[in-house]
Symmetry: D4
Subunit: 222 residues, 8 copies
């Protein structure tokens, strides 16, 4: 996370300029006041570029809504964005297996946009209803990078990666119960995908998947 | 396992007559001589009905070939069958994701036949190549019970169960490496299937899946 | 889950007609308002056939009771059923090891009925009191499919499968503490059953077991 | 293990005199020559009392057979006993679920005898064939302590403990495959037994179970 | 658990008469009203013999205090005892490593007494302060059976079993944090004790350990 | 794996043309004769494009060397390549933490080249010697995609991802012992990287990482 | 923990005098009243030497603030110190990877001081921003012992141990989510450090790390 | 590991001069020829200072014996030392629980000496025979740092740390079977030690423990 405000400006600003990555605040474990303060400070330093806050609880989102009314809040993604989005370059498509995966799908969507990619979503295309997935095959094929989100048995990335050759990041979610072990089953499934080239991030880490995907998408349109 | 030769005849024979299940020898951990002796004894007691031996190593299969030449050996399934198969009733289709799953697929095939069902196989229809699976959809739909075998991410049962409403038993295999943890990834995936009605057996347990499937298939054609 | 309301009607309705499976709403993670809305919509589309909602918390059940008074609520199973049950065909018997397994037993019972089977329960026949189990042996034998529910050491399916040859689905429950690891001990025990033909579903998944069992039971009486 | 030969004689000999426990050599990881040397030295120190060696590989047993021909070797238990058994007091019954559990059953049998109890075995009374177990109920009831050995789902101790009130030590074995995880499934099952008073030892630890059982049996006949 | 109130009287009463084991109510997951009702019913059936309830939350204990004022409540053990204790026979000593293990120690203490043994406790004799343990060595040696309770690294049973030859049941507790994994570390340690004859029960299962210990103690004084 | 030789030509050839991905033979579990036969058949079908075989044991490599002398064998990567490499487009840099990671590094290197990217390696830049890593910072920055390979604590991807903004795939290896649990420690570390945008593949899966990396690199130079 | 107040004075006081270790109260699971009472009693016994309480919840800290106003409370570390700190000898530097690790860092800081070492902290020097770490290299080198605290991938100790040869204790924290498994990922990473000489304590155990570090630091300046 | 021979001389030689740590070759996974070559090259560069090779198989030791006859080989520790030991400063005592822990004990012993400490061993002082441990208490107290090695339940470090206040590094070993899970039980036990200040290294990592211990011991006698 590059949310720290002080004495290390030189190197990180270099990296930021080169990579196009914005400043990000990881909200978990921070008080609403801290979230607001960091967002404001980062925004003042980068008024021309969106800063992103993730994993905001309801309290933090309310504090942001009141004190930073210009921020763009997404209650499903649990994110806040402050400042103008960059000009998009390249496209990321976020694909979600079920409706319960929506928070992770939305976090990925918002993150991809803040990191400079065009981004959209396709929802509710789980492997137990292939017709829904096959109906969006061309959409999948047209993206520069896919982020595929699934809980439970985590099978969707394998099926998608068998349909198209687009770079694909798989995100296991903690959706499930019992022997899903809070996303472990989906994580293991994705790591063992029989489709070549599937790469994986931590459970529920829509943010990390979208950072990678946006870099890949931007590079494809330099 | 009902391979024991002695003093418990009354009850088990009752159950056998009622259920149609044959005698079975689990070969793992038995010497070739023990396998031959038990097979021979069971066959003498049930000359009109096939007995089955599973998990036979190369040594045991060779001993059976030499000393029980009328036995039907399957080197891929690692099984031996001695005595006439029962008249089949109902159909079991064994579906395998990859060529490496063949031993488990064949063990299920032989077991289903010895347990009184018609049985066939569909191979190499992994989820990364959906067209192959979609091509056999009618075959899947025509079975009385499906046994779906897959290693790695274990996604095939979910996809098949989304296509047809036939009772379906999923078999995870130990095919994979690293974070497959010798079949654990596939097992967890199958237990967390998003498709309703998927039931699961132990890793590599083609035998157990087929016993259940044959019972289901036979009951559908009483 | 086939609870989605929109544009994918053709294929799924085909499958439903063929398989006899109803629409189901998985209530976990949904608001009471969402549960009510989906139930109502599904019921309007299928007025002649029961729809099922599972894993309803107390809030959701109260909302259903108030807004869909014709729904049939089961507080132990945490289910709601809206619309007439199908004509039953075939019988499922749900067997529970202990009184703490009741929620899972009842979820299986309701599910089996909504999926078109006759269904009943036998309770409190844990393996530490064999006389109770032996007393219901004929009842076990008369079912078309058994659903056997147990927590703790998960031994009941093995014992039941040794008594009768009826197809049997084992359901581990999260009943236990310490080294039960929320049902993992029972799950592993059931996957390793020494009785041939035992198949298993996820921890506490009475719903999934009953879907499979109802299909098996219906097929036996086509 | 009290196999060390040197400077700590005083206290341990005290304990030995008081408890009746013999000297024991744990053979795993020792060369045949080491096993022979330690057995011989212990025997010279305790000529009037049996010493026990466990976990002897084939090489070690052959070395013992050649160089200590008066030793009593058990190839199934993989043990050697040198010197006269103590006068037995109290009775231990070792109950085994399946034929594959025989090595652990025999290790417990030999250990119980060397530790001063009368001991016998009942074999092949797995829970999938209750009639065999029920047939020996009186035998179970007559013992001072039971050692119940089972692999796979490890259900036997719960069933036995439901039949009789005798103190009972459960021994999980590594018999099984896949999700048995080399005995872990049976171990967890036994730790979660629904029958009160079941106590457990490490996987395959017939020796440890029998040490406890013999102490219990001897105490019952002081 | 033998808490069920109905039609299985014959066999269980036989066992009870023979073994001296009382009726027990496992309170976890029961409402205060249920606990009171079952205790009262069991007491009416066995007015001359104590019945035991374990794992009672504060609500349940308060309900018992109000409605069954003659019950003996132990807030640390979270138990209630109703009816006269049996005449004790044999002695159980419950040894606890730390003050945080007190609930499990007390549960074992109460259970042993209700199951017919004399029982006492030795507390706070963890292995990091050996002098405290060595000071009670004679007390340890005088018991008929020891119950040794420890969390964290679970080392105490090994040390005690090295000091005396008395039968010993080890109870791991969930005391600890981080890599104790809620008692798993202590459980594994106890299962791997280098001292022969240590037997183990589930995490926090003071009840089960004491049932075994009381049987052993009673048998030593028949 | 797209190694199957028969009736599914149409769709897969389409995908291949579009994605630039070659045919691949996964050698584990195949006989040398099978490897040779499949390689030869794929080469005949695609004489103008390299086919790749991975995870070849010494026997298989020797068989390839004798019967397909024009194949390019890499004994460290355990790969064989048959046919001309594609014109490279974009660059992949494979970074290895230690010399023991060389097999995975080389597998990634060969795979990236066969999949159409320019590829090179930087070796032995583990995090305990940062000066080595800092010395190649410009090289890291110049790549279109990085594959970062490490065993043991798996820290290298986090450090590299903190230095440059290039898309980065992390590969845990099974290098280590004890609590590395055959690569699990490194896998978990990489999934929890504090550096945003790190994506991960299965343990030792240099092949899968390079497939993704080559796609990313090619897309950056379309 | 040496917080017990009674009859074991002689030996422990001996040890305390020799080692310089203070009395410590582990606050988790104690009531505020208990914490206050033990602190007061220990302080009365050792008025000239600080006693330490750790893991104090907000309630306990408030009770201490009110009833022992002379105590030094640290709300981040969740500690209380009562009595004068010892004259420091040797220096401990506590290094924290991220701001979320602050509670563990502070607990280590306070503990080191109470145990007789000079102590300071360096914060927010995670491995994804090496420049911050390299900037404090001389500070690291000047300490007598380092305590390095990190969650998530736990890479910081390896990097620090590669920079300096000072004795180093690694502390994994539970900071992270998903596949961090509450600190397990960081723990495993630290145990597998490729830098020689890294030693590790339990997850979040800043106290234990600082006890060791203070002993090492004091010994270096005897 | 600092075994690499080339272009990174400047910084590492600086560190070496400052810390006194020697060059080390980790032998696992290296050919005998590689081991000999690296040892020779390192020795030529540092003729006045011992270099160490660890984890040498029998082949590698034989190659060293033949080609580097001046090397000091330890077949139990599986180490080779080439060149003169440094002048020792400070003392490390390596304490082993059982005879099977000897390889790890010896590896620690040799490593401590090569890293500049005086070192000795105390063997076979497992916790089940406390008298042996108590007999060496003064020896324990006299060391500057202790390395305590134990397998199975891993209890020894807690007991030793309760006896003396010397800095102590615990080493779990893979000695054990079944639920020891190749040293995991001992590792967890040591991480959860109730004695403050116990620090831990990876399973069987005598080398790493001794590097830390030697640094601590040397610092105490600067």
């Amino acid at each position: 996370m590059t949310e720290h405000l002080d004495d290390f400006a030189r190197v990180d600003l270099d990296r930021e300029r080169r990579t196009g990555d914005p400043e990000v605040v990881y909200g978990a474990g921070k008080t609403p006041a801290q979230v607001v303060a960091i967002l404001r400070a980062l925004h003042e330093r980068h008024p021309d570029r969106a800063v992103l806050a993730t994993r905001l609880g309801e309290d933090a989102r309310q504090a942001v809504a009141e004190q930073l009314p210009e921020a763009d809040l997404d209650p499903v993604a649990r994110t806040a964005v402050l400042g103008p989005l960059p000009e998009p370059s390249g496209s990321v498509l976020v694909v979600g297996a079920g409706t319960s995966d929506a928070p992770v799908v939305r976090e990925a969507l918002v993150t991809a946009r803040v990191h400079g990619a065009r981004a959209g979503t396709v929802l509710d295309v789980g492997v137990a209803g292939l017709h829904r997935l096959l109906a969006v095959r061309e959409e999948l094929d047209a993206a520069d990078c896919l982020v595929v989100v699934a809980g439970m048995e985590g099978a969707l990335p394998s099926v998608v990666a068998g349909l198209v050759g687009v770079p694909l990041v798989a995100v296991p979610t903690s959706v499930g119960y019992g022997a899903s072990f809070e996303g472990l089953a989906a994580l293991l499934a994705m790591l063992n995908s029989c489709a070549p080239g599937v790469v994986v991030v931590n459970i529920d880490n829509g943010y990390g998947a979208a950072v990678h995907a946006a870099r890949v998408a931007r590079a494809a349109h330099r």
